[in-house]
Symmetry: C2
Subunit: 129 residues, 2 copies
């Protein structure tokens, strides 16, 4: 299976988790020719709105470009939602971090397995916090 | 230009209108293999959440299948948003209708230019109502 297919499958699996808990969630079409900020997933219920940038990796760290994080924050500000990044490390469950919990290394932010373990929220934490 | 391209262009134009007014909006990737309800567009600000099924047409009427409307309602209920259908008739501005304003004809709902003119909201009405 290609990396892209694995990524799409992982996103669909996450969408499924939200619906199981009675949240409505959807994947974005990508920003396309509009060039507006666009998260990977939005999920909401009557109380909260989550705006997610999600990635999976087989490495022990994952990078988010500064621009990705800025756009996620910008979208979340206007949308009135809570921005999170979600990472699925190989054979692990999804973990989620607030943007404050990301560590900057200049041009990008990095999430290591160690950071994820220390600061990451599980899916259940995410929807119940 | 193909019908599909015209449809995508019209959707992007609508996304643009929301951003111009400081709403964050995004197009969905479609329900894909998940089979969960999925609107065409969600748009939100700090006060409101809109969930939109949108179509354009060169005819003087447009149909929405019962299933589309049911799924839009279901998504909106869980998402905690307001469901609307949007129609762009040829060379006209977008008009928006609440689901209560659609007329059922058994297996589908129909929006004619006449219904749109009588009950439809302009984009400005939609975001200010």
């Amino acid at each position: 299976m290609s990396t892209k297919s694995r990524g799409s499958n992982a996103e669909r699996n996450l969408i499924h988790k939200f619906w199981e808990k009675n949240w409505a969630a959807m994947r974005s079409a990508g920003s396309g020719s509009n060039h507006y900020p666009c998260p990977d997933i939005v999920a909401s219920n009557n109380l909260r709105k989550l705006v997610l940038e999600v990635k999976l990796t087989t490495e022990d760290k994952k990078y988010f470009m500064d621009k990705e994080i800025e756009e996620l924050q910008e979208f979340a500000n206007l949308f009135g939602g809570e921005p999170y990044v979600g990472i699925k490390f190989f054979r692990k469950d999804w973990v989620f971090l607030t943007l404050e919990d990301l560590e900057s290394s200049g041009k990008h932010f990095v999430v290591t397995t160690e950071i994820a373990q220390r600061r990451g929220l599980s899916f259940e934490d995410l929807i119940n916090c």
